[in-house]
């Protein structure tokens, strides 16, 4: 009897396992991307993006038909695109179009800005670009657009008020601009996520670097981090003062791992400022300690593309 039962359960188990494995692969998680990290150099924002997303397996890997997508660029400042304080509007528009082409039912874009929000949306060029691409700008200037969430794995940051679109939409895509930041040292994908939160003063007052790392453990993770390094603000960040703070770098980094994306972008940035290391921008290493990703990008599959 025992042996028969054993064989029965073994057979049943195998059948379930055999059915279960492909079903899991088909529906629960996307097929593995062609690369863990893609770096592109030498092109215009749209061209670099289309090569990068293709190397990552195409937007259909990340956005399914009918899903609602929210894109979070950096729109923090009332600055023109040339000043590189905000994400490049051409890149944001390209992502919006791509999401819609992948079947997204709706693409929303927002940032909790530092300068007056209407001026930021307008003068960054992002509002116009997004609307032309078929997306819509979401409001994020008032506390009531945010909802309290728990950060159970956070060390210093145990809860935060997060924008409702991040919580309610199916997919979110993080689109930071690579820049120097005199508070957090660097502003890349982990720091950009701070813009989906209402009360940022708390972070500044409670170990900024740790809070940034803590927030990277928030359960709802971006499907992709697309780091805009077309223009790079190398000093006086995050706001910058003039075009003299900006280098035309023509680069783009994409990964689903926020720590890996930031590590790669930081190593790239290091060529402009040799003093800027992983030890300096300590939230990146803290992010790894919080198990939000890996700084060991050498062990990842990297695709380097030159246009």
């Amino acid at each position: 009897m025992e042996r028969r039962n054993f064989i029965k359960s073994l057979t049943l188990g195998s059948i379930v396992g055999a059915l279960g494995t492909p079903s899991k692969r088909l529906f629960a998680s996307p097929a593995p991307a062609a690369a863990d990290l893609v770096a592109v150099m030498g092109g215009e924002p749209e061209a670099m993006y289309s090569r990068a997303i293709a190397a990552m397996g195409g937007m259909r890997q990340y956005v399914k038909k009918g899903q609602r997508v929210v894109i979070k660029p950096n729109i923090g400042w009332d600055k023109r695109p040339e000043l590189a304080a905000n994400t490049n509007p051409l890149l944001v528009a390209a992502i919006v179009k791509d999401c819609l082409a992948a079947g997204a039912s709706e693409v929303g874009v927002f940032d909790h800005t530092c300068d007056t929000w209407l001026k930021c949306y307008k003068n960054s060029g992002i509002e116009e670009a997004v609307k032309a691409a078929g997306g819509k700008m979401l409001f994020a200037h008032e506390e009531r657009y945010y909802r309290e969430v728990a950060i159970p794995n956070g060390k210093r940051l145990k809860s935060a008020k997060v924008h409702e679109a991040i919580l309610d939409y199916d997919v979110w895509i993080n689109v930071p601009v690579l820049k120097n930041h005199n508070g957090a040292k660097m502003s890349i994908s982990m720091k950009n996520a701070m813009g989906i939160v209402w009360d940022r003063g708390y972070w500044h007052a409670n170990d900024l670097q740790q809070c940034i790392a803590d927030f990277a453990t928030f359960r709802k993770r971006p499907a992709l981090h697309i780091v805009d390094a077309y223009r790079v603000m190398t000093k006086n960040g995050p706001q910058g003062r003039s075009v003299n703070d900006v280098q035309l770098a023509k680069a783009l980094f994409v990964s689903a791992d926020t720590v890996a994306a930031d590590t790669a972008a930081l190593k790239f940035f290091n060529q402009y400022n040799p003093k800027m290391t992983l030890d300096e921008a300590s939230h990146i290493k803290l992010g790894e300690q919080m198990k939000a990703g890996t700084t060991g990008i050498d062990r990842l599959t990297i695709q380097r593309i030159r246009l």
Partner: protein, 509 residues
């Protein structure tokens, strides 16, 4: 004739309604779209034109004076928002009154009150104080009323819309309103509503200094409302219809100094006895009646004004009645100095309504008693946008003089002062840099502290006092960086830009 007068009256009602709507929209415009377009309507206000005469509105002032010298107080019925608003109230109040209660009767003028207030206002103005004008000027009061009451109402409506259609309408915070200025707006609103519902244009003919001043000129206007003795039947229909209560049916006189040119009387007369007359035609000239009271009022006023002018000339430095020491008395860019502000601002709140970041708020005690309701920078909820010059563009008084973007970027309205003892970096030994982050000029910048930590440092020569650092500083209960007012605005140094060489890079990993 009656048809013409009826046409004139309808034209007045139509024009006045449109003008009142336009002025109101300047203050209530929530999205900031209409204000720029409609702004010229507030430049046609008498007190702004008078105060701004030295900064570009002299032509408007002369035109308004000529208009009054030609047709009397048409300003009060066509261009004054508070005047037109009272007509609206009167009309609504009449719906609730019996026919009998709607009738007006002639009232004797309150000369001492009218000219006393006018003289006091002018004397204070000569002494360099707009404080009295601020509380009496109909335009400025209407502005405050519209900014604080109507805009609050519109904000409420907008937010109902935002709740119903969250994708289309965005929510607007009520934090931009202050209790003090809502009270000031509500006070004027109550006074106007009560007085106009009770006795028509009583405010305009007893309290309003603009009404009194234009009234003096109207006594000599080319055209005025006159009654033909031959045609008048003494039915007193005109007197009953006169909301200015300035027609005396018994003596067949219309007091030109109080007549606001509403033309209602001319449309009710059955015999065409009352109408516009050319004052200097001998046919209608009435014998001058010398009233001893008039002479006394005139002499007293002239004496007071003379004394004020003499005082101003003798003690030009001593005109500040309440000297200001408050470091919080930060005047908006374009104000030049607190002195300049107090000399020209009448607290209409057009700048407050226009400010996109809502960093400008009505002052309570910051500037002293004579600066209550004048605009002051408040960095608790917002800070001044680096490239924005909108407040300086809208001010009709010349209290805030227009700034170009380049000029604004070096206009130092105050200086940031760093108090290390409240700073997170020193207290907790963790990174912060929120102040540096918000500093557009890098007057606030981070310098090495210890163990890789950076701490802010201020270069006051670069600081323009925008308040970004103070607003964002997370230090509690006391902020670690606070802007201190420049009583006279200064010019900040333009940052020296180091040209950055293009660096050739590779992937780097």
């Amino acid at each position: 004739m009656r048809a013409m007068y009826k046409g004139l009256r309808y034209f007045r009602i139509l024009f006045g309604t449109l003008f009142l709507t336009a002025v109101t929209l300047v203050f209530v415009d929530l999205g900031g779209r209409a204000a720029g377009l409609l702004q010229p309507v507030i430049e046609w206000q008498f007190v702004p034109a008078l105060l701004g005469a030295t900064s570009g509105s002299l032509c408007v002032l002369l035109l308004l004076l000529l208009l009054t010298l030609a047709f009397g107080r048409v300003y009060c019925s066509f261009l004054c928002p508070a005047g037109i608003f009272q007509d609206v109230v009167t009309r609504i109040a009449n719906l609730f009154k019996s026919r009998k209660a709607r009738r007006y009767t002639y009232a004797a003028p309150h000369r001492w009150l009218r000219y006393g207030l006018l003289t006091a206002t002018l004397a204070a103005f000569l002494l360099g104080e707009t404080a009295l004008l601020l509380w009496l000027d109909p335009y400025s009061n209407y502005g405050r009323m519209a900014e604080n009451l109507f805009r609050a109402g519109a904000t409420g409506l907008n937010n109902v819309g935002a709740a119903a259609f969250p994708d289309t309408f965005y929510r607007i915070s009520y934090k931009t309103f202050t209790a003090g200025s809502i009270a000031a707006g509500a006070l004027f609103f109550s006074v106007l509503v009560v007085l106009s519902a009770w006795r028509g244009r009583l405010y305009c003919n007893t309290i309003c200094p603009v009404g009194s001043l234009l009234g003096v000129l109207s006594k000599y206007s080319l055209f005025h409302i006159g009654i033909s003795k031959a045609a008048c039947t003494h039915c007193r229909l005109c007197e009953r219809a006169c909301k200015a209560q300035c027609i005396d049916g018994r003596t067949e006189q219309c007091d030109a100094s109080r007549c606001v040119q509403c033309y209602t009387c001319t449309t009710v007369c059955k015999t065409n006895a009352i109408g516009l007359r050319f004052r200097y035609a001998s046919r209608f000239r009435s014998a001058a009646v010398v009233d001893p009271q008039r002479r006394r009022v005139f002499l007293a006023s002239a004496g007071l004004l003379g004394a004020a002018a003499a005082a101003r000339a003798l003690f030009p430095q001593a005109r500040r009645l309440w000297p200001v020491e408050s470091p919080k008395a930060i005047a908006p860019p374009g104000a030049q100095s607190i002195d300049h502000l107090k000399q020209y601002c009448t607290g209409c709140h057009a700048c407050i309504a226009r400010c996109p970041s809502k960093v400008i708020r009505p002052a309570l005690g910051e500037y002293g008693l004579d600066g209550v309701m004048m605009p002051v920078m408040d960095y608790r909820y917002a800070f001044c946008n680096y490239t924005c010059t909108e407040c300086s563009q809208i001010c009709p008084n010349g209290a805030l003089l227009p700034l170009t973007e380049d000029h604004k970027k070096t206009t130092q309205i105050g200086k940031a002062a760093f108090k290390a003892e409240n700073c997170i970096v020193l207290l907790d030994e963790t990174d912060c840099g929120a102040c540096d982050e918000h500093c557009p000029t890098k007057a606030v910048h981070m310098v090495d502290f210890r163990d890789g930590l950076l701490i802010p440092e201020v270069d006051p020569t670069l600081c323009i006092g925008c308040g970004g650092c103070e607003y964002i500083c997370p230090g509690r209960p006391d902020k670690a960086i606070v802007v201190q007012a420049n009583p006279s605005h200064l010019t900040a140094r333009l940052p020296v830009e180091e040209k950055q060489e293009t660096i050739e890079v590779d992937f780097g990993f």
